[in-house]
Amino acid sequence: MSAERETEEKKKFTTISIPTPLFEKIKERIKGTGFTSVSSYVTYVLRELLAEKEEEEEPFTKEDEERIKARLRALGYID
């Protein structure tokens, strides 16, 4: 990997602080799992936590709804 690329790659990560005992606990926890580092485990858990939950569907505009309904009806998908 070129030096320039390496710098670019590094820019895509940042450092956060967690308590050392927690770090040690995670280090123990990931032994024998697919996680290669505490960072990869923490990233995984945070992504899971932040993942979108089921939310309200974006509403259709009246115009959209009419157009969609007409097409679905014409194609036989709805009565």
Partner: protein
Amino acid sequence: MPRPHGGKLIERILKGKERERVLQEIGEIERIDVDKGIAADIENITKGVYSPLEGFMTREELETVLHFKRLPNDLPWTLPILLGLPEDKGQCLKEGDDLALFYKNSPLALLHIDEIYSFDKEEIAKYTFGTTDEAHPGVARVYKMSGSFVAGKIDLVEEPKGPYDRYKLSPKETRYLFRQKGWKTVVGFQTRNPPHLGHEYLQKTALTFLDGVFINPVIGTKKRGDFKDEVILEAYEVLIEKYYLKNHAVLAIVPYEMKYAGPREAVHHAIMRKNFGCTHFIVGRDHAGVGNYYKPYAAQEIFEEFPDLGIAPLFFKTFFYCRKCGGITHEKACPHGEEYRLKFSGTRIRELIRRGELPPKELMRPEIAEIIMKNPHPFVE
């Protein structure tokens, strides 16, 4: 129903006066002609199947997708979506220009150029397909490109017409349809084959705990020996009519060219179905694989990397017919030996059909077999 990938369903289809204006001017804009696969990508971007993408990828997007399997904003995304520039076009285009994209000599879309860049094709191949072997069809396709790419948002000008348009629904339409049917949970099923009983049991097993099945054949460039699209669609029409509850199955196609990127493509297929409104997606053994490039269950294992995908993959054991059980079962349920098992092998079914023999009713519904057999040329030649 899940929110679209990235939170917003993309729709970039020109309408009304704006479309008319573009159609009048498009003949004077620099143009490139795209093939069927790229035309399908364009349709999928502009209709939201690839949400949140609004166009072809920039260098930064390509790099993060290759190296991290994510877009620059950390959203899972595993396949590069690229528009290669022909060798002779690089010099006459610059950022800020518009580029007309034509398909079959007709205007298809307008691209607003954000970036023109070069990228190492071998690197694209290595990360996307896990190989640089030119015998891999996806690698060969990358190597055919010039190595120069153009990125930018696109607007659909004219929807490509095809013989199966009556089966083509956009994510906006499927989301509306699923809601009308009262489905809260929907499983997406991708296919390139007429259904055998193994497929049917897979879908119906999912239906035991989900509200609806979205059967979504991909329509695109085919390999010699593949089943023809009309055979697949007619077979599914009949299967649904005779063997499914009308309110629990929807059949619609998606234009798409298989990349054969195995695990990465399996995730991409799941994202596409999330955008259609599916909550679950069936991932098969060696999903989107070709030859022996991927481990049989690699396409299932990769999902462990994406706790934030927003669609649940479903992994099933392989179904088979057991003569001793007297029905379709699987290895976690059947105690009998291999000698009693009749496996659902697509290759075997194709061989029987080629020889003019009806596949046994334990493998395929007679109605489906008849549809295939009555077609004098059911396979792509």
